[in-house]
Symmetry: none
Subunit: 199 residues, 4 copies
């Protein structure tokens, strides 16, 4: 290569593609959009990725992994009372929202663009949401167990409802110029909603 090294060029391509996919959608994103923006020939793109579908899949898989890592890191059985539970929710919310704030394109790609992809990637994204739902469900079950959540709650549906609120929160953060302050409000709201609504 010379100037930049091939790993750096690969990253350049990924970032440019990510931006375009976030903004425009798979079909509207042309290979030439990416290469023109980087000032390289379209042939070069194909030295780094097999085809358009390849880079799209690649980007989405990175995002999926990022989120799954958050879920794996946390332990749903950690808190012993409502106060500890709330603290855990706050920590979790911060982690999750920070990932999206850090890479603002992630939301669009994961929530909109991915739904359109080929079956294989669509399934993986659907699986991600199911994983998230189950993850929340475990928290609720633990809270019921420890008696700081009502035993009568519909855990499965509530988990989904919480995912729905979180999704909208993310959407709201993404549209906002000062997401950090808004984040606090949302985390407060979500933890209140969950604890007051379900205890």
């Amino acid at each position: 290569m010379g100037e930049k090294g091939t790993a750096a060029r690969r990253l350049d391509i990924i970032h440019t593609a990510r931006d375009s996919f976030a903004e425009k959608n798979y079909h509207e994103t042309k290979i030439s959009d990416i290469t023109k923006h980087l000032g390289i020939s379209h042939g070069t793109f194909y030295n780094y990725f097999k085809n358009k579908s390849d880079i799209f899949t690649h980007i989405i898989k990175i995002y999926i992994k990022k989120l799954e890592e958050i879920f794996l890191k946390e332990n749903p059985g950690l808190s012993n009372n409502a106060i500890e539970f709330r603290n855990q929710l706050i920590r979790l919310g911060n982690e999750l929202f920070d990932v999206f704030i850090e890479d603002q394109k992630m939301y669009d790609i994961l929530f909109y663009r991915a739904r359109i992809a080929g079956l294989e990637i669509k399934k993986e994204v659907t699986k991600l949401f199911k994983t998230a739902d189950l993850f929340v469900e475990k928290y609720l079950a633990h809270g019921v167990n420890k008696k700081f959540l009502r035993s009568s709650i519909d855990a499965s549906l509530n988990a989904k409802a919480i995912r729905g609120m979180t999704t909208v929160a993310l959407e709201d953060l993404m549209e906002n110029d000062a997401p950090l302050q808004l984040k606090e409000r949302w985390i407060l709201l979500l933890s209140n909603f969950i604890i007051d609504g379900l205890s």
Copy 2:
């Protein structure tokens, strides 16, 4: 035409297009998918719609209007206490969910396919969600006013949160084979969540 009259044929085209858009996405839906399914020629399509974008926009606008009518019909200032409020929520939830259950394609088109469309249509859908948020916000403000909702709530964010839960509820209903029973569970959950969480 002959047999059916041109209004009926226009409807045929709309319905076929709707089914295809719901299932496949704007770009994956070919004009020939529609015309082949109806047994008519390409050319005929263009006697009824200016182009592909035209019919897509048309379908989405129908849906937007349908939902806006629900919002307009209800009066946020009607209930005087928590019990009446809950009944109103239940009635509203039923109306909203029924529209989607009746036309199962509506969810996919409005929540996924529309997001991808050209800027103009994207804006209209975004506006629809803002309208929904405002609509909910009015309910909450009224509840605060009548003192059956806490005065400290963050009405704007809560409205969005409620929209998020509702979206997930719809998603869940659409995936389910017996949506009517599930609907009851969701309406119960949503009204509980709102009233317990916010009062």
Copy 3:
């Protein structure tokens, strides 16, 4: 269509493609070679054939069928002595050679271009040659049976050898400007060779 009718246009495309394939090979034949020659747009080509492979396969299948019909029409068990046998060989040779003389591109396509095609078509052509070998073998076996051919002959190899001579005969005819006279010489030679060599 208008001027020519769609069947005629389809034929035009087939003939032009055939000429190009005969002269140039599958990969060297560009769709634009065909369409430019016909003065139509390349899009039009795709209204008549699915893709390049499609028309190539189509042409070869026509040829295969043509030859198989010749084999089916003749009855290897018809002749009772060497004279009748020779007459049958002459008739058969005439039929076969005439088909190739009539459509001079057939030889190149079947003997050279087809060998390069995808596996499926390659197999069909190989099968055609095996069919031809078996066909000749039956004639030889019948001759042995009727005792106007030696019983010691290696029927399987001889059948192939005869096919080899015939192939070269065709090659020779194709290169020649006055194939009809040359045809007589070849038929004489082949029938002599077979009867004198094997009786």
Copy 4:
């Protein structure tokens, strides 16, 4: 280079290219097929050959030379009677078939792949066949001269016919797992066919 010396590397490239051309055809053979198989870079290939066409031509010319040497080595005027003639045919057949059995790729490349090459190489291969025909013709003429072959034979066409049989024999040998035994049968058949058919 180091280890092997550049002449050896050149040979490596030729052999790999030969294998690929035999199996796959000119256009299906990518430069990267060759270099990947050898574990060298693209660029290296171009240190040894001008371009893809160059190495293809080179390989075919080697083969052409090999065959022409066989023809030059033999003397058509050597045999004085049918028995000596037959022995000569047997010797010749063995030599020819052995060359092809030894390098099984030769048949495919010379009989199929070469026909597709650019005009120049096509002409050389055609010339080779003409040389072979002439070579056989001389044998036949000598046999007529010496009176152990009929004087009425059509020497030119018969030479071609013999080439046709030989080609099919080669094809048969190449497809067979035990070519050495099959070779005997073919040599027997060919010499019988020629001597019985033409004397």
